[in-house]
């Protein structure tokens, strides 16, 4: 077997600690404790190995990466390795001095999350206080430090009515890019699915709004749109294909093909504490298990789109069929597709239950 092509991106989850408690958090249900986190020198080695392996971009994420006091050191080190550096932050702990320090460390770009444009909702969806005001201030601090900014808006049944306002807020914040990301149902979001699931009509309206805004704001604001699986007919190429473009190092040093992969049982993940990133990328059993098309069952195996969508998402297949090796039920050819759609429609039509918050 020829060695795999090099990955493009590394998601470096520096910590699972976070001041927010969003009910759709993409972290696993079992969070890594602070004592298990990689040390500064271990992260430096990971960054060296990532650059050597062919990674082009590193996304510093969490939890809230600003909680790590060595963040600036790691950003500077990544830059010295030739990596493009991106910070994925809630902005909650940001100060003007810290924003300046990030820029001086050579940070290339920051992505700031926004839960809603309504202050009460923003607190409700983050399980925190005063979030909208703090995020508005954080956006101003990042712009004052001359950092290019993306606004990340996770959308669900509770805030889709404010999508137009989200777009206006991205412009007001001085963002060059807006991610309109419908919730993906893994981890905490799967647990809160009924509280988050929109109706088909909400989704269709959102798609219209995004399409119109893209045309209206061309050249001013780039809008990336993450479509929801439950109302799709073809699956997304999750992570651009399992173990093909992307790797994730969690706070404790486990190396994962995606940030939800730990939900798959019977899967052993190698750690950067024992092996190099390159060795893990090439040889890890977890990476090789669903890499390429050889593992695919029918109807994927004979499908002309098998190297377009790569069978969809393994974690979603597991969550909805009990088998991580099944066709993603987002595909209309999956025997579980009708059941997935009915689940979405039923949950969206029922009153929203209370959130179960992610607590560290």
């Amino acid at each position: 077997m020829r060695p795999p092509d090099p990955p493009f991106a590394l998601l470096a989850e520096l910590t699972h600690r976070c001041p927010l408690a969003c009910p759709y958090c993409s972290n696993p249900l079992t969070l890594a404790r602070a004592a298990s986190e990689l040390e500064t020198d271990e992260w430096r080695r990971v960054l060296d190995e990532a650059a050597k392996l062919g990674v082009l971009q590193v996304h510093f994420s969490g939890g809230e990466p600003l909680i790590r006091k060595d963040l600036e050191l790691l950003i500077a080190h990544a830059g010295q390795c030739g990596l493009y550096t991106n910070l994925i932050t809630s902005g909650m702990a940001l100060s003007p001095a810290r924003a300046t320090a990030l820029a001086q460390a050579g940070l290339d770009h920051a992505q700031l999350s926004l839960q809603d444009t309504d202050a009460l909702n923003a607190d409700l969806f983050s399980g925190s206080k005063n979030t909208l005001a703090q995020k508005t201030a954080a956006a101003a601090m990042l712009r004052a430090a001359d950092l290019p900014l993306t606004l990340n808006a996770v959308m669900h049944r509770g805030n889709l009515a404010h999508l137009e306002a989200m777009i206006e807020t991205a412009l007001a914040f001085g963002a060059g890019r807006l991610e309109v990301a419908h919730v993906q149902y893994y981890g905490w979001a799967l647990r809160n699915r009924a509280a988050l699931m929109p109706t088909r009509a909400q989704i269709d309206l959102a798609t219209q709004i995004v399409t119109a805004a893209r045309a209206r704001l061309s050249g001013r604001l780039v809008i990336d749109y993450v479509v929801p699986d439950y109302y799709a007919t073809r699956p997304k190429a999750c992570m651009g294909g399992w173990a093909q473009r992307f790797l994730n190092v969690d706070p404790a040093g486990n190396v994962l093909p995606c940030h939800a992969a730990q939900s798959i049982p019977d899967m052993h993940f190698d750690t950067v504490r024992e092996k190099s990133l390159g060795e893990i990328w090439r040889n890890s059993a977890a990476f090789n298990r669903f890499r390429g098309a050889g593992w695919m069952p029918e109807p994927c195996q004979s499908c002309e789109r098998r190297e377009v969508d790569w069978g969809g998402c393994r974690c979603q297949a597991l969550a909805l069929t009990g088998d991580a090796g099944a066709t993603d039920p987002a595909c209309a050819l999956s025997p579980h597709h009708a059941e997935m759609l009915a689940t979405a429609q039923n949950e969206a039509a029922a009153p929203a239950p209370d959130f179960i918050y992610r607590r560290y």
Binding site: P6, F8, A9, L53, G54, L56, Q57, H59, G82, Y84, N86, D108, H109, Q111, P148, T150, G176, R177, S218, G219, V222, D224
Partner: protein, 94 residues
Amino acid sequence: MSAAGIASSSCPALARGVKMRFDEARSQWMLNAPERVLVLDEIAQIILSRCDGVISVEDLCRELALEFAAPQEIIQADVMEMLADMLHRGFIRL
């Protein structure tokens, strides 16, 4: 002459947060942009490496026409179409 937001007098530059680099691992020129990577072919790399925010599209195409011994009109049509696409996708600014 203009194409979707680009005029011959426009002076494009890489957008904020966009960087060009040669990627040793893949032996290719790349644009790194916020959470996106774009592989550049030789022509795109030549054009974008000259987009410094000072030179106009018209002057840039005049240079290329001389260097590649091709009619400026044809070059300019292709360059403007390519730049309009790059502007729409947020890789350049005017």
